[in-house]
């Protein structure tokens, strides 16, 4: 890298922990590593001999696969461990799991867990670097970074943009990382969703709260919708997905309020016709597939930087 800034983080636990300079460096690194995925031989020897374990306590296909591809393109050895959710109650504590894994000398643990803050707990009990691949309703930093990369790619600069995030803000770690990431990088972040799906004091994270979806989307450069999960235990958050779609879904009509060149993002998987009109998901404004492509590049950058690349 030509940057003079040195990356000092051993773990990637949240965007809250990263400075603007850190994020700049990650995005620059990702931009330059993205090219590798376009070669006919998609592999560089950078991380040969390094061991990367993905430890997932929640089901995931795309995030895990994206990390695995990223690691393999850089020649690291990758291993996957999926633990059924119930195992935490079956006896082995997270700290015991960490100690056992540590004994096998991994270099990086890619970690997903339904309990917020658990990557931090893991990082305290293991020598390896920990990358948070999503913890509870806390953060999903690599997703936030790939979203920043995608917006920067499409818009040139993040500073001064208006980013609307629509949907279940309260239960979305993606929204959380994006509110922090985009506001850190100088964008105006506006959120909107049913009041039942807005977290307490979300303004203090750096987001404005819009009263209606129209207000939120008005003048936006970026419109991000989030997956709506209806099945929340014993907590009546929404009457139905149908009603959500009618009042909070992003439709072509609502998109007319945004800037003409606005882009549409979604962290996936999409409930087509619920939070996002199917026509928009596949339309010209959608950058959803670019997000997936950039996911690999950002994850390559994270692995590269925490393993001491410079």
């Amino acid at each position: 890298m030509d940057s003079e800034y040195r990356f000092i983080h051993k773990h990637i636990l949240s965007l809250e922990d990263l400075s603007v300079a850190d994020i700049e460096l990650i995005l620059q690194t990702a931009d330059s590593l993205k090219e590798i995925s376009t070669r006919s031989i998609k592999k560089v020897p950078t991380l040969r001999g390094k061991t990367v374990i993905s430890l997932f306590f929640e089901p995931s296909t795309r995030t895990r696969l994206s990390f695995e591809i990223a690691a393999k393109r850089m020649s690291a050895d990758t291993f996957n461990i999926s633990v059924a959710l119930s195992s935490t109650t079956k006896g082995e504590s997270l700290i015991d799991t960490a100690k056992n894994l540590a004994a096998m000398k991994p270099d990086v643990i890619i970690f997903r867990h339904s309990c917020s803050g658990s990557p931090r707990l893991l990082s305290k009990h293991i020598k390896a670097s920990v990358i948070n691949a999503g913890d509870g309703t806390h953060e999903h930093p690599s997703q936030g970074l790939l979203d920043l990369m995608t917006v920067r790619e499409k818009k040139g600069d993040i500073n001064g943009l208006r980013v609307a995030i629509i949907g279940d803000i309260a239960h979305s770690r993606v929204a959380h990382s994006n509110i922090i990431g985009f506001s850190k990088m100088g964008a105006e972040v506006v959120v909107c969703g049913p009041k039942t799906l807005l977290p307490a004091a979300v303004e203090r994270l750096g987001a404005k709260v819009a009263a209606t979806v129209e207000d939120a989307v008005s003048g936006a450069d970026v419109v991000m919708t989030l997956r709506i999960q209806h099945e929340r235990q014993k907590d009546p958050l929404l009457p139905s997905l149908r009603e959500y779609a009618n009042y909070f879904g992003i439709t072509p009509k609502i998109m007319k309020k945004a800037k003409p060149d606005a882009i549409i993002m979604h962290p996936g998987p999409i409930n087509r016709g619920v939070e996002l009109d199917p026509e928009l998901a596949d339309g010209k404004q959608s950058v959803i597939i670019d997000q997936v492509t950039n996911g690999v590049a950002v994850r390559m950058a994270l692995l590269y930087l925490i393993m001491g690349g410079d």
Partner: protein, 433 residues
């Protein structure tokens, strides 16, 4: 554990004797004989019997032994966290001569048999143990426990602490039925459908950390129900661990109307805010959760103006097995017996309360509410006395924790003021030297 012999007289010379029940706050000396307070001397030279152990307590407070009306001793059932012996040792080290232990043991203390077992284990321990019996059988909130038999076996109050009594009719019946046995009903006031799966105070910090929040209304709504039932039935009720501004205000207004409501708070609720949860520190996880600076201010006002009657610790020992976990999975609660005195003395030093109020909150009021002896230094009363050095500086380190569990958010804090001599029934149960 118990150092001197019951019938060796003890003389505490030239301390600041504070006994609100008798309107005393002046320098003097106190003689304890045969497990009783035998004489108070002010200004004059005194003659003590032969063989008396003399302690010069100049510059220190001589006050009635502290009484903690809300502790969890974990025995029977979870002796790996605490036992009646270890918990009462912690009590003595913190200046307490008596504790009231909540019924959420395993088995639940919902019968005379469990009460009797607790009391038999408590014999010869370092503090008096007053069991609190269950409101409902098994603490399940469905049917009344047998208050009459439990009272005969020795319970001093009833509570389903740990769990709220969700069924309002059962709470009403508990208030009515307990009146025959003069047992105070202690309510853990929490509306469970609002606290839901929450693990910390709902607010900016819970949003920042991605942890599910417990809204303050979960506590306030239930306090409102409880005081309404107390007013309707005309029975007294005591609200445990008050943590919010509106709770204090509800209780204040109810008292003004003549409702027989009393309430307690714990030192952590006037010392820490939800910022202590920063970086997912499970030592700051408790129920009700730590709140905001504004709530702290309201709790201090409540302690000063008499709205809150008692400081109790909600001493809740948990081992590393229960605390070294993901925040969502970690147990609620912290130990508190050994840090109550310095934390409450902070209130005296900052001018929130005076020394007399300190003694009321930590000794006289809990004695009166539970209907137990102590809480005063009256001549002829039990020789339950604590000597506090209000200026003693110390660092509260893990290796000096007397409790079996070390789950305190105050570890490594610089503290000021502590119990230096604790005497129960005329026997020294703790001495700091």
């Amino acid at each position: 554990m118990v150092e001197s012999v019951n019938n060796t007289p003890i003389l505490l010379v030239n301390g600041r004797i504070i006994d609100p029940a008798n309107g005393i706050d002046q320098n003097g000396s106190l003689l304890l004989e045969n497990g009783r307070v035998s004489r108070l001397f002010f200004g004059k030279k005194l003659s003590a019997p032969r063989g008396t152990r003399k302690f010069d307590v100049g510059g220190k407070w001589v006050i009635p032994g502290l009484i903690d009306m809300h502790v969890h001793l974990r025995e029977p059932g979870e002796e790996y966290k605490e036992t009646i012996a270890s918990g009462t040792r912690a009590a003595a080290a913190g200046g307490f001569t008596a504790v009231a232990c909540m019924p959420n043991t395993k088995p639940f203390n919902d019968s005379w048999a469990v009460t009797a077992q607790i009391l038999s284990k408590a014999r010869n321990c370092s503090a008096k143990v007053y069991p609190v019996g269950a409101i409902s059988k098994f603490g399940r909130g469905e049917t009344l426990a047998e208050y009459g038999e439990m009272k005969e076996a020795g319970v001093v109050a009833i509570s389903d602490d740990g769990c709220p009594v969700e069924n309002s009719q059962l709470m009403r019946r508990a208030l009515e039925y307990s009146s025959h046995f003069k047992l105070l009903v202690i309510s853990h006031s929490e509306e469970k459908t609002l606290s839901h799966l929450g693990v910390m105070n709902e607010g900016y910090q819970s949003t920042r950390l991605g942890l599910r929040g417990i809204p303050r209304v979960a506590e306030e709504i239930m306090i409102y129900r409880d005081l309404s039932l107390a007013e309707y039935t005309g029975q007294p009720i005591h609200i445990a661990h008050v943590s919010t501004r509106e709770s204090v205000s509800l209780i204040r207004r109810a008292k003004e109307r003549g409702c027989k409501i009393t309430a307690e708070t714990a030192p952590h609720y006037f010392t820490l805010t939800d910022e202590a949860v920063d970086s997912y520190d499970t030592m700051a996880k408790m129920n009700p959760p730590l709140r905001s600076p504004d709530d702290i201010a309201a709790i201090k006002e409540g302690l000063a103006d008499g709205t809150l009657d008692v400081i109790a610790t909600d001493h809740a020992p948990h081992s590393t097995l229960d605390k070294d976990l993901e925040f969502d999975l970690a147990a609620n609660g912290i130990i508190g017996l050994e840090t109550a005195v310095p934390l409450a003395l902070n209130l005296v030093r900052e001018g929130t309360i005076d020394a007399t109020r300190f003694v009321e909150l930590l000794s006289s009021n809990p004695a009166r509410l539970l209907g137990v002896e102590g809480g005063t230094l009256r001549v002829g009363g039990p020789a339950d006395v604590v000597v506090i050095d209000p200026d003693k500086d110390f660092v509260y380190t893990e290796d000096q924790v007397v409790s079996k569990s070390k789950n305190s958010p105050f570890l490594d804090w610089h503290m000021r003021g502590k119990a230096v001599l604790t005497i129960k029934d005329g026997e020294i149960t703790y001495s700091d030297s």
